[in-house]
């Protein structure tokens, strides 16, 4: 351990002011939450509605329905024809889109700030009054199958990630891909989409986020006018997904695909996520990931494997703390051409073992904290990405207070905290190790 050295090193740690965009929040009577982030530098607004529903809330056997429904929201309503939503946004000089994750589905428009009223009217309309023909559904199902073809089936790395997740989660629906398994996607029907829609698309399951050149009072007035009259879904249950049992057995996968030009190994560990009022463990893992794999030239894995032993072309560590249920912490190593996957895995294990022995490099730790402080300043330059972070956190069980506390919690993580978190996380019984290679490489995972 190198903790004693900390006291002896003088670092030019700069004190940056804690800054933040002006944030206001309130709720409508029907249960819809509203968050306003002000940035008056340009006359632009991002209007977003986030639903607390995603791929992990899908009925068994209907994988892909949350994402498929996201596509169908661009079809008609009782007041609008199919395609009219996006066409209207475009005619007003704006752009719109949507995205689906395991924990949320979100719709957004970027447009001149004086068009907010129109955006809210249309978004409120499609929250409860969606209409879709069998023909719309059939054509759009072909589109999402092509999307799967493009994003997943054409990319061996994506195909293998699906297999990794499926092995990582023994019971939790995070095991299914957001886009869906192809055989289930092919069977998704209009009824499947409609019953999912009627249950989950409701003001009491939605968060409105408006970011940009707006004032809270104006947003409140418009939100009351457009979203206020919508009826909530009665008795909407809490989001209780099947949870993971104790994971007792290490899993190892190998995948061969002729389209793999560059073999690599990856390992993921089941990990705790950020919980409301309890983000300390997650903060330690966030810092651990930054230390191990944050930058090729200065991270632990980069220094040891790319610069030291020269066995790796690329290394990284990842952690996704913003998640409703248990998440993953992971490591990746892409070996140089003369290093086998078996040797690569041994080198990766060795690097982690050395780290556990040597402890945290205090200078590196201080640099990471400095960058985190600076990222708050740089982050103010992009209000839309700030709004997205709020949306993702609020649909993952966190509160605004949790989001605002997070930077200070990260700064308060100590070197010993990181080592404690590392000891807890590197437990092979909760891990999946994957080898990805072209078919001719014979040394398969054991």
């Amino acid at each position: 351990m190198r903790r004693l050295i900390t006291l002896l090193i003088f670092l030019p740690v700069l004190t940056l002011p804690a800054r933040a965009a002006e944030i206001t929040s309130f709720s409508l009577k029907n249960g819809m939450d509203v968050v306003v982030l002000e940035d008056h530098r340009a006359p632009v607004v991002s209007h977003m509605v986030w639903y607390r529903v995603g791929a992990a809330d899908e009925p068994a056997g209907k994988s892909g329905i949350a994402h498929f429904l996201e596509h169908l929201l661009f079809k008609g309503t009782d007041d609008m024809d199919a395609g009219e939503f996006s066409a209207t946004v475009a005619r007003n000089g704006g752009s719109d889109n949507a995205f689906t994750s395991w924990d949320y589905t979100a719709y957004f428009q970027r447009i001149a700030a004086d068009r907010l009223d129109l955006m809210m009217r249309m978004e409120a309309d499609r929250m409860r009054d969606l209409q879709m023909t069998e023909d719309d559904v059939r054509t759009e199902r072909d589109v999402v199958l092509e999307e799967r073809g493009q994003r997943v089936d054409s990319d061996p790395g994506s195909l293998f990630s699906e297999q990794m997740r499926a092995a990582q989660y023994l019971n939790h629906p995070y095991s299914i891909p957001i886009i869906g398994w192809r055989h289930e996607m092919e069977q998704l029907s209009r009824d499947d989409a409609f019953s999912f829609y009627q249950r989950y698309y409701a003001p009491n399951n939605a968060i409105l986020i408006v970011a940009g050149d707006v004032y809270p009072d104006d947003v409140r007035r418009l939100a009351v006018k457009h979203y206020g009259p919508l009826l909530p879904t009665p008795d909407l249950p809490d989001r209780m997904r099947p949870q993971e049992p104790p994971q007792l057995s290490e899993r190892r996968l190998s995948y061969s695909d002729p389209r793999v030009a560059q073999p690599y190994i990856t390992r993921s560990y089941l990990a705790p996520e950020r919980d409301s009022g309890d983000q300390a463990e997650a903060a330690k893992l966030e810092m651990l990931a930054a230390l191990l794999g944050g930058s090729g030239a200065t991270s632990v894995l980069g220094q040891k494997l790319q610069f030291g032993s020269k066995q790796a072309i690329y290394t990284t560590a990842f952690y996704g703390g913003t998640s409703l249920d248990d998440t993953t912490f992971g490591l990746v190593m892409v070996p140089t051409p003369d290093v086998s996957l078996a040797d690569a895995e041994a080198a990766l294990d060795q690097a982690i073992a050395e780290f556990m022995d040597e402890g945290v490099d205090s200078e590196q730790f201080a640099r990471i904290k400095m960058q985190l402080r600076a990222s708050r300043i740089y982050g103010e330059d992009n209000i839309e990405s700030l709004a997205r972070r709020y949306g993702a956190a609020l649909t993952s069980g966190l509160t605004i207070a949790d989001i605002e506390a997070w930077p200070d919690i990260l700064q308060s993580v100590s070197e010993q905290d990181v080592m404690d978190a590392a000891k807890a996380i590197f437990d092979r019984s909760k891990a999946v190790t994957g080898w990805v290679m072209p078919p001719k490489v014979k040394d398969a995972a054991q």
Binding site: P12, L14, L16, R41, A42, P43, V44, G83, S86, A87, A90, R91, N92, G93, G94, S95, A112, R115, R138, T139, D142, V143, V144, E146, E147, G149, Q150, D153, S154, P258, R259, A261, Q262, S295, G296, A297, T298, Q303, Q306, F307, K310, I313, Y314, V334, T336, P337, E363, Q364, R367, I368, M370, Q371, R373, A374, S375, I377, Y378, E380, D381, N382
Partner: protein, 437 residues
Amino acid sequence: MNRFFAVVFLIVASTAPLHAAVEVQEVTSPGGIKAWLVEEHSIPFVALELRFRGGSALDAPGKRGAINLMTGLLEEGAAGLNAQEFSQAREELATSFSYRVHDDTLSISARFLTENRAAAVDLLRTSIMSPTFTQTAIDRVRGQVLSGIRGDLTDPSSIAGKNFDAMVWGDHPYGSDRSGTEASVNGLTRDDILDAYDRVFGLDRIYVSAVGDISADELGALMDVLLGDLPESGAPSVARAAYKLTGGVTVIPFDTPQSVALFGHKGITRDDPDFMPAYILNEVFGGGGFESRLMQEVREKRGLTYGIGTYLAPMEYGELILGQVRSDNSRMAESIDVIRAEWAKIASTGLTAKELEDAKTFLTGAYALRFDGNAPIARIMVGMQMTGLPVDYLRTRNDQVNAVTLEQINRVAARIYQPEELHFVVVGQPDGLESSN
């Protein structure tokens, strides 16, 4: 201080529903380096964008990939710091530098905090003025580049792109990948890297813009420190590229469930008087968003793809109209039939009056949405300088869009869309498609 020409324009878009109030100053440093500046003091950092005209197309004969590899080495050690020390210094300052090379440009994007600006600029300067290019670093980055080249060999999009470029441009640098081949990259020596550096860096080809918490005086001084010692000139520009492709289909067999098609033909130069009508045409035909004709016909009506798009590519030495689509192997032939029909239709009948009006309201309204942060504004301004657009283009651009008439549009549609010249390069196992000739 009267050391700078600081010309201030107040830019207000006149006809759009949205006003882009970007106040651009043209700054000349005491040493004579020019820049465009937007002062934005509300957040204490600066985004700086540097661009050098002439990118990987300036590779020496037989040294394909040298400029790409050299660019990757700029952050791998400079002025007495090795790669790790350079990265550590950068992290201590919480500054970021990125170095990218394209066919026609080498660009450096930096952002730094006000509180340690001088130290950040000094560090950035070392990477531009005195990169060390050690053999250790060359070998390590070469390994990364080779890994990327090998990856491209089994990636259908990359295969399509490389083949399309080779068929269009032949032996011109545009005809091959800027990363080079395994053989060419393996053959590069340290001398080749030094030569590549000399080719791209020069004061005669630099464009600068800055946005953020900095004054004109401060930017002038900063530029002289950062760039003042650059050599006067780099390598001369290369010859224009001759377009070599004719209409047809080229199928490149590849075992994958979904085919990728790259398609297009000769395009239009950026300084052509018809460029603006052509730009509007492309927006309606295959530009971004769900509203384009190709998205409507290929995706929305038929479900043949997840995405299809076209764009104008007016490059320094040649120009193309290009598009890309992916469809299941069983349906690619149908996608191509639809695209061909749409290509012929727009060439013969152009746009409707309503399409033109909708495109104008979209383009003029969306223009201001691009100016959404210090770094994006800096990139737009450096791009305008390279294109030769005046500062007041920011004010006149929407008027230029609105001034385009339906008659112009339809004349230009007949000029630039040439259905018989359209060539598709398809990578996959597409049913019912074979190479022509």
